[in-house]
Amino acid sequence: MTITAVETTAGGRPLLLLRPDVSHPARCGIDLVAAATHARETGGTICLLLHGEPMPVSVDGVPVITPHGMQRIWLSAVWRTASAARDVRAWWRHVEASVAHEWRRELRRHIGDERLPFELRQRLRRMAEARTRRVQTETNAFPRRMLRASSAVSLLPDFVEEARRQLTALGITDGRPLVTFESRTRPDIAAAVMKFLVSEGYAVARIGDPADGVRSCDGVVDLTTCRPRPLSLEMFLVSASAFIMCESNDLQQLAYLTNTPSLMINARDPFVAYPVRANGLFALSAAIDLESAQPITIGAMLTQPYFRDLHKQQVRGRRRGSHGYRDNTVEELTHAINEIRAGIAEGWTSESESQSTFRQRVLEAGAALAPISAHVAEWGPDDGFIGDGRLVRFQADRVS
């Protein structure tokens, strides 16, 4: 999840070549925001190398250009070469890490052989450890710091008009403040939450899986079947929302592009879910230890055994983990919605002590786990920064 931009110069000025993946709004958003931050720091220009679909955005304070003709061919070639070199470097690092891993395994075969002299085994052990230390797999760390400052990325006027027209056709009008709601949660809870939002005067745009079994009510516009949605529509929907409620990272990350307040619900991983911006909140699922049938504490969700289990499920495709999850209840989500509304109204100034304590705990856990967990190294603190967002207050109070 790093920026895929390539740095070059044109006429002595830094030029950031960027080929955003328009088919993946979240990744595209992260790339754009990170590139904008970088371009602002270096005083450079962003050069968009687009494939087909135009990029409907402008970034305040950073010139964005789209090359044509020979210029485009040349810059595309530069981008391809640099990308290929980056891929080769990444491949080489992978090979190096793999060789180190296998080398270490081979050495371990002998380290345990008690027939060998003790000193030799000690020496082999030191060699194995040194080899592992030397080759640290470079992870594509999530660039939290680069996403920290809100870049004023806005849709181009033509696209705004087009997106507004499309949304109006789908039933979303300007009358009431909008909440984009991505439901993967239990259908009864999702229905109750949407009802609550409507009763509070919001219009709700529901996106996500059409087969999630959620029944819409008045005031809810179902966009689940309107897929695939063009990037401009997705961006406009998020930017036009007072806030978004989501379960997926993708939507949370898209909100960084439009600087929309976000509430992530049913999060299972405190590092992945931790919002970068101050206008982000998240609520953790209730994790149940399936061995003992007991709920585990939020503190335990910051430990190595928890992440090892999560990793086994997600990366190694183990069909069952040691943890089950219960979705946030309607009451919890109502609290969270009230908190995000208060945050929007007050300008995100009222962080409780328990929330800042929890952030500190996440930072400490991240620092401790990053060397031993690639997952935490990727999603954890970025140079001591985890995010300005916060855990919802009722959960943070429970932790402390």
Partner: protein
């Protein structure tokens, strides 16, 4: 009295044959049950103990130990494992042969899932792929796509299987037990080592039979790699599977029906509906649906679907469906996930039996029967409980859902439930499912006839009133009466091939079972040599420190002492000689002086 040796993978298979074993024992046969692995996950070992004490003619014992079990094989090929001291144990030939056998059998199982009938079964293929050391899927992934290539590879594998020797321990075990018939189940586990029992039985002239335990055995697992003399199946559908998918000649197949379900025809509810509902926590005044959980392969994460299902019922807007109670019965081997289910969130819904209930506990089977018997209908993803529900004539439903596609369309046995002549009504969405429930819970003569037809065809092919257990026992008796087969010792070419190429293959299979990259095998020997050389250096150094240096030190001390002693002695001697000389010279001087004076 005849001897029947029944080899099972683990005691969990007893439940498929318990009635038949009792019947065989009661008719005077000595039934010896041997288990390859013990298992107490669901209290299976307790079942074995209980069975052994139920009749003097029944004996339970472990099968001979394997030096390299499939489990060991899989543990060794774990790519992330870091084990110390692998060099320490010298691996005998037997390990290598067993590694080769497991590899060959896993590859055969892997290849079968490239056949056209398994085109939707990518998860089944992945399941085998995960067990194979990584070098084989890399090689075979593309090579095995053309049917001709698969045939060639399979022929080569059969050749390799033929040269794998029988296991001495198993030969001895069979000789000692000397059974009239060897029954084996399930035999078709991925990479199964039970094949070795069939091979040993062929070699020793013991008649063997495969007992197909369950309805999915011939389609969702491995192949019958070495044909036993007989195959006992439930129904004609399985007979066709055995012929078409496993190459079993039809004359070796016996159809007996499913003895597992016999008790479902005989059982009666243990309590009234009201009592049952009160016990499980449902409203007795309302009908309820039974949701039957599926196995971990079919539905690893079933809770979110069930929550959606319950919400769809509750918010259906159809009073008859909305008011239905819901009883959830977790699959006994996949029940832990239900700890995360919050039944309090859904009124008139309950989990029964409670998660973690011992399946061997008294009343467990009766509870299951009562759950189905008193229900208005049964819902499930893909589970044998749907067959049980068909026996009791309940309407049965399922919903196609993308997360379970691998366990529904991705398996062949699902078609028996939903295809032509199937008993399960399929919906493609929860909305359609709700409509089906609305229309399908009423009594329906067509449905009853369909259920009966399915049961007659699938469960009791000899007649719906003909229990399968006696037919199974008669089939075993008939096989026994055929007498022993002619011993089939290995031919000369098999023995010749076993010597050099066979051993090399076995050694390679043992090494490759670790699933390491090729270069590791290249550097392994030089690396071992370098380490042994270094070890020699260390040993020499140790020897030097321990013996050489002290010896030199001693020698130096001796030399010094000798020099010291000798120099002292010399000095002493010199001193004494000097004194003597002085005395002599003094005496000489005195004598000289005297002589001078005398002159």
């Amino acid at each position: 009295m005849s001897r029947i040796l029944f080899l099972m993978l683990h005691p969990g298979f007893i439940r498929y044959y318990e009635g038949a074993i009792h019947m065989l024992a009661a008719s005077g046969h000595e039934v010896n049950l041997a288990f390859e692995v013990s298992r107490d996950k669901l209290g299976e070992d307790v079942t074995a103990q209980r069975l052994a004490t139920s009749s003097p003619n029944i004996r339970c014992e472990p099968a001979p130990d394997r030096t390299e079990s499939v489990r060991d094989f899989l543990v060794r090929s774990d790519r992330d494992a870091m084990r110390a001291g692998e060099e320490r144990r010298a691996r005998p030939d037997q390990d290598a042969w067993e590694s080769l056998a497991t590899t060959v059998r896993l590859i055969e199982d892997y290849l079968r899932f490239f056949e056209p009938e398994f085109r939707d079964a990518s998860t089944l293929r992945t399941r085998v792929e995960k067990r194979l050391p990584r070098v084989y899927p890399q090689l075979l992934g593309a090579a095995a796509r053309p049917a001709v290539a698969r045939r060639i590879i399979r022929a080569a594998l059969r050749g390799v299987e033929a040269i794998i020797p029988t296991v001495d321990g198993i030969d001895d075990f069979l000789r000692e037990r000397n059974p009239d018939v060897l029954l084996v189940t399930p035999l078709i586990e991925l990479g199964s080592q039970q094949v070795d029992y069939i091979k040993s039985a062929r070699k020793l002239g013991i008649r063997s039979a495969l007992c197909v335990a369950s309805w999915d055995n011939l389609t969702s697992k491995g192949l019958i790699r070495v044909l036993p003399d007989h195959v006992i199946v439930w129904n004609e559908a399985q007979a066709q599977e055995a012929t078409a998918l496993h190459g079993v000649p039809p004359d070796r197949i016996t159809v007996t029906g499913s003895q597992t379900f016999d008790r479902w025809f005989a059982m009666r509810p243990s309590r009234s509906r009201e009592d049952f509902c009160r016990t499980v926590g449902l409203d007795p005044s309302r009908p309820y649906l039974l949701y039957t959980g599926s196995s971990v392969f079919i539905a690893p994460d079933e809770v979110p679907f069930t929550e959606r299902w319950l919400t769809a019922l509750r918010y259906s807007g159809i009073p008859r469906v909305t008011e239905l109670g819901a009883l959830i019965r977790p699959h006994p081997a996949n029940s832990r996930q239900w700890y995360a289910f919050d039944s309090a969130a859904f009124p008139n819904a309950a989990i029964w039996p409670p998660v973690g209930t011992d399946p061997n506990s008294p009343g467990f089977k009766e509870d299951f029967f009562d759950s189905v018997y008193h229900s208005a209908g049964v819902v499930g993803i893909n589970t044998s409980a749907q067959i049980e529900a068909s026996i009791l004539g309940r309407p049965i439903f399922t919903v196609r859902s993308p997360e379970f596609a691998h366990g529904q369309e991705g398996t062949l046995h699902f078609q028996y439930l939903v295809g032509d002549g199937g008993v399960v009504r399929v919906a493609t969405s929860l909305a359609e499912h709700v409509e089906q429930l609305d229309s399908g819970l009423e009594g329906d003569a067509g449905r009853d006839e369909r259920n009966r037809g399915f049961v007659r065809r699938f469960v009791r092919p000899h007649g719906i009133d003909e229990p399968a257990t006696p037919i199974f026992a008669e089939a075993v008796e008939a096989i026994r009466q055929l007498g022993p087969t002619a011993p089939r010792p290995d031919s000369w070419w098999v023995r010749a091939a076993r010597r050099i190429p066979g051993r090399s293959l076995a050694g390679a299979a043992l090494a490759l079972a670790e699933g390491r990259p090729g270069w590791v095998y290249l550097v392994r020997q030089p690396m071992s040599l370098a380490i042994q050389t270094a070890a020699l250096g260390y040993r020499l150094s140790d020897e030097w420190q321990e013996h050489g240096r002290p010896a030199i030190k001693r020698m130096r001390r001796v030399a010094w002492r000798s020099w010291y002693e000798s120099s002292r002695w010399l000095g002493h001697r010199w001193h004494r000689s000097k004194k003597k000389l002085l005395r002599v010279s003094r005496d000489a001087r005195v004598t000289a002086r005297r002589l001078v004076r005398l002159r």
